[in-house]
Amino acid sequence: MSTSKIDRLVKMINQISLNMSSNGSQEQVSVEVSEHLTKFWSPPMKSLISDYADDENIGLTPISRMAVTHLAALQSLK
């Protein structure tokens, strides 16, 4: 996986999280962000970011990290 590829996804998620940041508590927002990713992202994008769910060094904001964790959990159920 190229670094730029994961960087792009991180940038996108952080942007989504930031724009939703006032929608509620961090937990609520992270759920909304993960729902947004589920709804609009293609499977390879979801799969790639889920692979990094435990990686603290890819630049995800706290809400984004929580969202990715939710997403990874959903992905693992599939």
Partner: protein, 948 residues
Amino acid sequence: MLEFYEPQADFGTPESDSETMITLSIDGVNVTVPEGSSVMRAASESGIKIPRLCATDSLKSFGSCRICLVEIEGRRGFPASCTTTVEEGMEVKTQSDDIGKLRRNVMELYISDHPLDCLTCPTNGDCELQDTAGEVGLRSVRYGFEGDNHLVAEKDESNPYFTFDPSKCIVCSRCVRACEETQGTFALTIDGRGFESKVSAGQDEAFMDSDCVSCGACVDACPTATLTEKSIIDAGKPEHSVVTTCAYCGVGCSFKAEMKGNEVVRMTPYKDGKANEGHACVKGRFAFGYATHKDRITVPMIRDSIDDPWQEVSWEEAVSFTAKRFKEIQANHGRTSIGAISSSRCTNEEVYLVQKMVRTGFGNNNIDTCARVCHSPTGFGLKTTLGESAGTQTFASVAKADVIIVMGANPTEAHPVFGSRLKRRLREGAKLIVIDPRQIELVSAPHIRSDYHLPVRPGTNVTVLNALAHVIVSEGLQAHDYIAERCDTEEFSKWTKFISDERHSPEETEQFSGVPALDLRAAARLYAQGGNGAIFYGLGVTEHSQGSTAVMAIANLAMLTGNIGREGVGVNPLRGQNNVQGSCDMGSFPHELPGYRHISSKETRHLFEGEWGVTLDPEPGLRIPNMFDAAIDGEFRGLYCQGEDIAQSDPNTQHVEAALTALECLVVQDIFLNETAKFAHVFLPGASFLEKDGTFTNAERRISRVRKAMPPLSGKADWEGTMALANALGCNFQYGHPSEIMDEIARLTPTFNGVSYKKLDQLGSIQWPCNDHTPAGTPVMHVDEFVRGKGFFAITEYVPTEERANRKFPLLLTTGRILSQYNVGAQTRRTSNSQWHDEDTLEIHPHDAEERGISHGDWVGIQSRVGETVLHADVTSRVKPGVVYTTFHHPVSGANVITTDNSDWATNCPEYKVTAVQISKVTAPSSWQARQKSFNAKQQDLLAKARQ
């Protein structure tokens, strides 16, 4: 609907919309018409034509020609029937010896100063003066032709599309009134008095030097050959016509394509077209010559590499070459390694078929459409807040608006026919708030001045919208009852808390937006308290990193003030291309099936799977920017691109070019070898809108028929090309006519259930939803409740774009359109419209220009973080200091070489409207422009070799 050529019916004066009916007698026949109708109109409606010259039903009655005189029982003299309104019990005589004599006398005077060259006149057989002379029985002219006259007056042929021959003018003022009433430009006037009276463009200038915008309203209104289309002068009178829909902007004007055989000789705005009601603009009315331009490619072509010459082949060979390549790519790189981009310039049926081919033939959801780069935030924002991804009104609804907000749109340039409607309402007294970084025409035009112009700094729309809402809430101006009844009150409470925060006050947001707080407060009060409030917005709202937030903020404002659900109000996205609404409706996004139903819905998938006989992938596919990234990463290798020029229109051109170059098989279906096709391996010749049947859906959700006026030059309409490719990939598409595709759409899409070609022919057009509940369509949406049930007030936090001006890039570039050119210019650049705009220029404020030593007309380099291009400078105060502006109609301009990859957080709609740049005086084109020139020359050479 092929018809032998007949001029469109003209009732003489406009229709009255009164519901009170009046009965009168005309020539002994009882006639019942609405109160306020003229006697002339009443007579016309009962089948009696009163001769006339200065009257036409698109203009208010004027009463100058004195031909339409009648007798009315109990009244003295001979009143003009055009200016006399009907009264109960009135008894009118339209014919008598005295009337006949008077009419002949008047006619005699007209004809004594008119060239008697009828047999060689271009409007012979289509001339109201000629007809009227016949109707009044003129047989001789007693005054002779030797006296003073205007027969040697000089012709003005400056306009590329029509001539002005004053020797044939009868000074009826129809052209002047059309320019005022219909178009709203006020470019024409009657100069002089008495015998010296003459029609004059501007200050007695040539038409091309005047303010004339070439809409053609004057030409339509002219009853003689004074204003005549050059195409008619060249080709003669049409012999049949076909009613169809314009393929330019999202207004979706209805036209009669007037034909001689298979040649279009004139496009006449169709009076029964509900989007335009007989009006047009310079593009739809005149710029149709591209359809038969010498650059059209009408034979399929293939090549192994973009460095190879093209090879002309049969349709069968091109389709089988493509199918083989696509199958190989999928075999080697997986099912999701190919995809398609459909076009908002194509018909509903065509875009439906492309997404169906992707979902059933490619076996994935990698389908996206050019709406990704324009109005995808509209779809997201309006669906979230109101429940439907569409505008709420008809265009005609603006006639009942009291306060109009125009935000990030420039209707007089980009949606000119709607712009004329808007201007008419403003002249009647409606108030106007313009929110735009530029001083667009509506800010100050003849007889129009905006009440407030809020010159927002690019990228800060959300702060302005939030501040407007803040003022309304903090001053208690919201529509309490409406919100309580129609909206989700729990969410509203949350939102009220959010918006009431002081950070959204105009005094706080001024530092970001540059909009003076006092003006903003006044504008908010006006919108909330001024009666019917209507918001019209465009790409200046959507094409931002917060585009979706801004759309939701607009919907919030409308709900907050109770301005949704009736005529005269609403949220109205002005769509850029002719079928943006339709392409979105037809399931062209990678996450949605037709009718905006998410692909993850099992129930919806089962419906389509039952009809299509395949299993559908339940996961979303790639969006256009994802496709580009995946292509560069080597994961996406095959693309079918129909009717779009992504190499010119999408942002960060060098990134797009790298993606296209990385593809193993790029298939372009288009009418020209556009910029994208220069990277292609297969070229499938497209059909212009004149060569196919189908439907377009305009910005008011109005579905209108596109009718074939001539056979496809390549032998196939676009839907037939797609069908051939789909079948070569293993599908079984068996459509004999696009009406069968529409029948399938109707079967599968609840909002289209009641739509059919038969009904479209009966009703003329239909605004969806059209189903059992609304069989004639839905002009105004959300009347009793919102589509989603309760209106949702979305939290609209302002998140600044990452694209910031700094010392290195101190100015903000924003982009837009101009009247004469359209989108990437592929069509309009191949017409005489280029006489108005033959290059894109950079608008820069005099202060910024002076600081850099730049004068008007200088070559300037525009450098952003991603690229550089060079344009001529247009030093103007239309832009404010700190902001520069350009258009993107010419490929060589490279406007998108400088726009960035930044995009809307929710939809990835590119942020075309905000790019930090530096401007400097230069002497040579940019390195990209030099490369583009060389690449273009090489590709043109490879094309020429194929055509030899």
